[in-house]
Amino acid sequence: MPKVKVPRKSTTVDMTAMCDVAFLLLTFFMLTSNFVAKEPIVVAIPSSVSEFKIPERDIATVLIDKDGKVFFGLDTQQDRKEVLDNVGKAYSIAFSEKELIEFSKIGSSGVPIEKMKAFLALKPEARDSKDAAIGIPADSLNNQFRVWMKTARQVNRNLRLAIKADSETPYKVIKSVMTTLQDINENRYNLITSLKEVSTK
């Protein structure tokens, strides 16, 4: 009896469709994504039931870590440049164009203004070290944070303020930041939190 001939099938699968899908997804992710901004410190934000999303543009972020160090960040490079230039002027420190461009690449910074030049001269890798994260002085004796905030408001009138503080931050620090903001008539701001489910029953 003759055997039934099994027709030989090629084992190669057409990858075209899969390739299409992969690149479609890739395009989707590239268009919808915004990169995780690098922050100089790790902040564990508290959770709340608030469902308001933070607006996408014109945000000034005040980062406060649990030791009470204050960092200040802006979302556009143009703003960052102008703000540093103006803050420098307020403390009669002139920053070169190169330093301004270097600064505009940093998301949020926490360096006292007198150390800013040295900080910008560092290599980008060296800036991430723990020693570089000093925090902007925000006490009543030397309130550089106030100057930063005021300058930022002058540079960009539509700026919205977001406070991102660690859950463990002592209230004392928060209070001093809030008082500073109140002093310069910044009366509306957002507290950044993560979402928590809650029942009202």
Binding site: L26, E168, I174
Partner: protein
């Protein structure tokens, strides 16, 4: 798609027959590359935007007018945020030299929330009804917002004064503000803690042995 049929038109023998090359390309490496990039983008992006809680504080000039005194002492509930995650509240204020009773509570739903919900029952009922109506599409978005503000501003609603001690932490503050949202409280203020309030807490705390 990637393969194209190269048909020879069957013209006989003038040119030497060229060998037929398959134009099919192996797309596997390209797919690999595609997925590699997808993985990269998925891991580096933040799709979730963080939530925010919007607060407005009175401007400095108003504070100087002594806003705090405008709050009717009899209607106010003072919430004190103490150290070590302790939470206290009292009703009203000191009257005729008699201290209000300070009550120790906590951040759970059985603690401060229960008290706030019971004090704010009328508004809570209204708001819940409103939310139900909205879910059933009985009210428009515009109406919903309007009514929500109206309900929250009701006369019967309590006024909460939040006072945080320096030793309390940020999470405590956010938790209390959160309770204000959950319990639909429209009128609340964050005020500096006074020595009087600290004294009340001290009296309440049993002396360490």
């Amino acid at each position: 798609m990637a393969e194209m049929q190269v048909e020879d038109k069957g013209k006989k023998g003038k040119k030497p027959k060229q060998k037929k090359h398959a134009t099919r390309v192996d797309l596997t490496p390209m797919v690999d590359l595609g997925f590699l990039l997808i993985t990269f983008f998925m891991l580096t992006t933040s799709m979730l935007k963080p939530q925010t809680m919007e607060i407005s504080v009175p401007s400095k000039d108003k504070v100087e007018e002594d806003e705090q005194n405008k709050v009717k002492a009899s209607q106010a509930i003072t919430v004190l945020i103490g150290k070590e995650n302790k939470l206290y509240y009292y009703f009203g204020a000191q009257e005729n030299g008699v201290d209000p009773e300070l009550i120790l509570t906590d951040y759970s739903s059985e603690g401060i929330r229960k008290m706030l919900v019971s004090k704010n029952a009328e508004v809570m009922n209204n708001v819940n009804q409103l939310k139900l109506d909205k879910a059933n599409r009985k009210v428009s978005d515009e109406e919903y917002r309007q009514k929500l503000t109206d309900y929250k501003a009701a006369k019967s609603a309590p006024t909460i004064v939040i006072k945080a001690a320096d030793e309390s932490n940020y999470k405590n503050l956010v938790d209390v503000l959160d309770e204000m949202n959950i319990c639909n409280i429209g009128r609340y203020a964050i005020v500096d803690i006074t020595p009087y309030d600290l004294g009340l807490i001290d009296k309440k705390t049993p002396p360490a042995k």
